[in-house]
Amino acid sequence: MPMKDRELLDLFSERSERAITETQQKYGHLCTALAERILGSREDAEECVNDALLSAWNSIPPECPRNLPAYLNVLTRNIALNRLKADNRFRRGCGQIPAVLDELAECIPAAETVEAEYDRRSFLAALERFLDTLPRDTRVIFVRRYWYMNTCREIADAYQMSESKVRVSLTRTRRKLKVFLEKEDAL
């Protein structure tokens, strides 16, 4: 019987090493799958998850995440992406990254500005507003594709719909995103 998130956080606060093993048992497979989709390697993914758990051990406390699985997923995703960049494999192709980047390039132009930090904030705010405007199902498909790096086939299987329907939904969402960001002057 897996422990509840509150109990896991208590173990972290008590600095009990059980916190690592229990968290690994409960959320290990979720984080590993995410890392594997980014890195394209099971071994690299497991290493990445271990790093994420260590990072959680170091940050809790003082941090007390309201949503533990989301917190662990964000840590794992960041570590996996950083590892790709460090190995200079980002563009060479690994897992779902190249396909995701190509798709996003349709709506996100490759332009760096001097006001990079300001742009990040305004862009993030615009993105959140955009996602709030989407229907729930469309938003879920978008997040699973570009956050969790799920393939279209996986999303289609998860929601028992055709792969083409997922692709169409993503295409339309990207098109809307581009129009939205242009309208918001966030690009």
């Binding site: 979720l30 699985p69 989301a70 917190y71 997923n73 995701v100 190509d102 132009p109 956050w147 998860a158």
Partner: protein
């Protein structure tokens, strides 16, 4: 901002959005169950709205046993010189009959009053022959002949000669049923002008003492179909007494002013013939025999004969 930065930026999405994407169940857009009976109800209401006005149009029959009879006798000539003669009027206890006699000669220069007297009808119209001028002279009032010029292409205000040219705001049309043709043995002067007259009567359901045999006789005589219930529906009965050849009803027009029946015949004298016709009168239409008249088209050659297979009476009330 580029795609790589965008990937990093996605890490800062709210936790709720990230977690809900994993655990979300896809919301299938299934048709609500309650929508089906609602749609069926709408369909039924729609059909009812479409059908109900048509059902309302069918009025129930109203029984008013009234029989009235009138006779109109007209002798026409090709020059259309008309002379009206009032015939003696006789009233019986049962019915009132109006007799109007119109006679004309075939002369362009003079019009001779040739009254045709029809004794008053007491019951249903009988097959009575045209009374020749040898009968006792009735009170005759000679009206100066009114010459009406009727060229080949008739004036637009004049009634047309065939029913097909009378369709003005046609609302409904009823078919004229052809009944028997009988030839009463009547001696007539071969030198005299041919006579023709039309007798109208409205069979407005049976009289209380009229039994089914009489109704059947009327049906057979006037060519009324078996399935037309005379005890519930009114009917126009027409009797044509003619000495012209090829006499036939070609149509008619029923307006608020009355009925005009169009009759065509060839200008050749033949023994007297009685032709019986009938036409159904729809419910709600009231027509008096006094308001019924016939217009005759007398043609010379067979080629001029109007080709009307099923004569119709246009109802424009």
């Amino acid at each position: 901002m580029n795609a790589e930065n965008f990937m990093d930026l996605l890490n800062t999405l709210p936790d709720d959005m990230i977690v809900s994407a994993v655990h979300a169940e896809y919301q299938r857009r299934t048709l609500p169950v309650w929508l089906m009976p609602a749609a069926a109800a709408c369909l039924i209401i729609g059909i009812a709205v479409a059908v109900y006005p048509k059902l309302r149009m069918q009025k129930p029959p109203v029984a008013e046993p009234v029989i009235s009879v009138t006779e109109t006798t007209v002798a026409q000539m090709t020059t259309n010189i008309q002379t009206q003669t009032d015939a003696p009027e006789t009233k019986t206890t049962a019915q009132t009959a109006n007799t109007m006699t119109q006679a004309a000669t075939d002369s362009r220069t003079s019009a001779v009053t040739e009254p045709v007297t029809q004794p008053a009808e007491t019951e249903m119209p009988k097959t009575e022959p045209v009374t020749q001028p040898t009968t006792p002279e009735p009170h005759t009032e000679t009206v100066p002949p009114v010459v009406t010029t009727v060229p080949d292409n008739q004036d637009a205000t004049e009634p047309e000669s065939t029913h097909t040219e009378h369709q003005v705001e046609m609302v409904e049309a009823v078919q004229v049923w052809q009944g028997e043709m009988t030839r009463p043995e009547m001696a007539s002067d071969p030198e005299s002008e041919p006579q023709i007259r039309c007798i109208f009567s409205i069979f407005n359901r049976s009289e209380p003492d009229m039994d089914m045999n009489m109704i059947d006789d009327i049906k057979n005589q006037y060519g009324i179909p078996e399935n037309y219930d005379l005890t519930k529906n009114q009917c126009l009965l027409i009797r044509l007494e003619t000495e012209y050849a090829d006499t036939a009803v070609t149509g008619g027009t029923l307006t608020a002013d009355g009925l005009v029946l169009y009759v065509a015949c060839r200008n050749q004298k033949e023994p007297l013939t009685d032709i019986y016709c009938a036409a159904p009168l729809p419910e709600g239409i009231t027509v008096e025999p006094e308001n019924c008249r016939a217009e005759y088209q007398i043609y010379e050659n067979e080629s001029e004969k109007p080709k009307v297979k099923n004569p119709l009476i246009q109802i424009n009330v």
